[in-house]
Amino acid sequence: MASTSKQYKAIGEDIWKGRTEKINSELFALTYGALVIQLIQDYEDFAEVNKQLEKMGYNIGTRLIEDFLARSAIGRCADFKEVGEVVAKVGFKSFLNITPIVTHAAPPPAASSRTSTPAPQSNAVGSSFTLTLDENPLVEFVELPEDALEGGLWFSNVLCGVLRGALEMMQVQATFISDVLRGDETTEIRVTLLKYLEEEVPVADD
């Protein structure tokens, strides 16, 4: 069911409005901040903290996708491009009330030349989309200190994990490209398609 971008926006808006249990954003930001600080104190290594945040996000994502599919009743996406649209306009909107901007990128040419069956362009392994977050509720009051900047901490890395977990049906890789907390211009997450599991049966369609 190919919906237009506007329809996705409307769906996302409806789900957000329809939610009865919302949480105070300050409480949310402070809780997440305390969590990151605790991880830093426990692991003392920023790369390890990044990994742990991603793992936590992964666990959240695998559960979140069920909730999302139940509420949004969106059918299968035709291609990876549509996945990006749905994630940004419906997914992020309904859970965080933000709508990141999606930019799509085709797979790099060299990689797809070795595949035996020519898959459609936007489903090819290696195609990706980039989410640009102009606002991020997790980093409401945060300022990174010197050592976190040098250690390479991605403060909102949990979001990457959530994306990976939610898109479990296809193997994706989600990583941060830039982050305003680290002094960059924008906050960007790149989601790359690694493998497409053709055999997946759509859920409950009898």
């Binding site: 402070l30 901040g33 990151v36 009051f141 945060v142 300022e143």
Partner: protein, 181 residues
Amino acid sequence: MSHHLYLLSPSDTPLYSLTHYSSKPAQATVTSPLASNLPSWSTSAFAGTLTALSGATSATQPHHVQGGTVRVGGGQDRHVIQMIANASLDVIEEVVRKENAMYLKSVDKFNEWTVSAFVTPGNMKFVLLHEARNDDGIKAFFNDVWELYVKTMLNPFHTAHTPIRSPVFDSRVRASAKKYL
């Protein structure tokens, strides 16, 4: 005309200090009674204060005096300022018991220096040493600093009651000082 701001935790630990030189013209400054007797080279900003320290007794009872001797050199001004700020803490605590407002106007006077204080609900003390009267500006400045302080406290990377080292906080306080003082 200079201003000295100190942020103190409830246990009187200094968390932040700032010296701001105002470009605004000084309002009618109170000339120290001793200044007129001294040669012109000694009427620096601290001349009245230093002379008072070296011999005469002052109205307040400073309990952080560095021996009684005045050390010559640039560093001593800093010590004098800090001493005045510390001395005013006793007075601030007294006033806090009586008054309910956050902005305690000028709580103390030491020769040409007036000490204004602002006590937050969390018992943080903001102490400002200044020479001229500027109640409205200072009140606005204190409120601004309070807001900035609250925002810094909400940063998860900041531990409560530790010195504030954030460059963002520093630049914003300076901008606010420029605006109001």
